[in-house]
């Protein structure tokens, strides 16, 4: 069984995003970029399935600028077997990414596509569900456990009230939540080896997908700022404040 893992290059999660002064977006010039944290978890899960003998090949895909190659190399260094860069400098919305992935899935026939549950830049939480819809396949979103048994996969999902378990007919789409696993670091020898693993470069047009945005961004603004308040000296003062607030 093959596993397809879409990985997105995003602002590093440790960096505080700054809105551009002209209100057109977030300033990404000279900002550290990394693989979307949920996608690292997706790559890790695919590798573990391969290590268990459930999967035979892992294909990482990224839709993005030329620099997204670095993200794919990271996936290869972690343990993916080959990579596809669908190169474009445009911002591609989840629907168009899902359409590109649909065509790739039709070519590659993966038993599982494992995506992150959300990209930490657009915070959309859409692509996996959209891909599942376009392929007419089931979806196990927000996964905290994934078990393949024959031609079905059991997914434990993190839901509002706790956990839920579903059984899906394969091929299936899974999106990862934070507690699915702890991604490994790529070792130096593996980073070296990754340089010679195959990486194909394509364009959205190769897959016949129009990436024109459907949503027009009119403005991007900082949220209303919260100013730091006061510090109280001791617990008694805090009790007083809670009483003023009417909660004690």
């Amino acid at each position: 069984m093959k596993i397809l893992v879409p990985v997105k290059r995003v602002i590093d999660y440790n960096v505080k995003p700054r809105v551009k002064a002209d209100g057109t977006g977030v300033d990404l010039a000279n900002v550290k970029m990394s693989m979307n944290p949920f996608d690292e978890i997706a790559v890790e899960e695919a590798i573990r399935l391969k290590e268990k003998g459930v999967a035979t090949e892992i294909v990482a895909v990224s839709v993005g600028p030329q620099k997204a190659q670095e993200t794919l190399r990271t996936a290869l260094a972690m343990g993916a077997d080959r990579a596809i860069l669908v190169q474009t400098d445009d911002e591609v919305e989840p629907l168009a990414v899902a359409k590109i992935l649909k065509t790739i899935a039709a070519e590659e026939n993966p038993g599982l596509v494992i995506l992150g549950k959300q990209a930490i830049d657009d915070d959309s939480n859409q692509t996996g569900q959209m891909l599942a819809a376009l392929l007419g396949r089931p979806q196990g979103t927000f996964a905290s456990a994934v078990t393949v048994e024959g031609d079905s996969v059991t997914v434990t999902r993190e839901v509002d009230g706790g956990l839920e378990t579903v059984s899906l007919a394969m091929p299936a789409i899974v999106t990862t939540d934070l507690r699915l696993n702890e991604p490994r670091y790529a070792s130096l020898p593996n980073i070296m080896k990754a340089k010679s693993k195959p990486l194909a470069t394509k364009t959205p047009a190769d897959y016949g997908v129009d990436t024109t945005p459907r949503l027009k961004t009119l403005k991007v603004a900082e949220p209303a700022a919260r100013s730091a308040g006061i510090k109280v000296a001791d617990v008694d003062a805090l009790v007083g404040k809670l009483k003023e607030l009417g909660v004690a």
Binding site: L95, T141, I230
Partner: protein, 309 residues
Amino acid sequence: MKTLVWVEHDNASVKDATLAAVTAASQLGEVHLLVAGSGCASVGAAAAQIAGVAKVHVADDAAYANALAENVAPLVVSLMADHDAFVAPATSNGKNIAPRVAALLDVAQLSDILSVEGPKTFTRPTYAGNAIATVESTDAKLVITVRGTAFAKADASGGSAAVESVSGAGDAGLSRFVGAEIAKSDRPELTSAKVIVSGGRALKDSDTFKATIFPLADKLGAAVGASRAAVDAGYVPNDYQVGQTGKIVAPEVYVAVGISGAIQHLAGMKDSKTIIAINKDEDAPIFQVADIGLVADLFNAVPELTGKL
């Protein structure tokens, strides 16, 4: 414009998150509701009472019992022939179903909206709430999820909508619900609580978390939340997590105990009315957003505070 709102429920009662979605939908036009469930007639009846609702569609079928997206999305799509917008609360079910609907309709989804600015224009948070985007849809139909804390709740009573039963294709045969472990608690629910006490990594372990945070929460009649670090370390279950990838909360008072204030945590609670932080590190980032801060060792301060309330 006619909107169809997906009703979050447990086949017995309407969940609160639906009411905020109704408010958002009512800013777009006529509000219809969809109650898809199994043995859910009482939910349909309750939904018809929600103020401002014109019609309730009830789809009662075993296939809809557990809100499986594979079964619910085609049902929604069939009803969308007659509606201009699909609106769901940004709950785990809403987030699971809505994008599946959007893709089947070939439209882009607007996730987690904070406000309705025009018939096709909305604000929504990006980058963990550090950048608020104003976006306009160019699609013929809209698919939207609504952040519960950003809209007032519609009145659960006072309405008298017509109830109509509808049917869909039922079981798509792709997925099966196996079971759920839903935590039960006597405390207020996190997303609707007036006061929340949250604990972080500093709470050491599950027993210490319970012995320290729970008594304070009980004194304040508060819900209990946690940082991701506290959840990952197993102090409390996953449904306690507040943040970018956990629950979004906006209570009257949020008390952060032993939480550093990472941007991913702030994303889930910085719209709280009053933020109180207890942390032993006076430079902890949480103090940059806290209205009231106490620099102290929580293991002294929290028991003392609980004792004095």
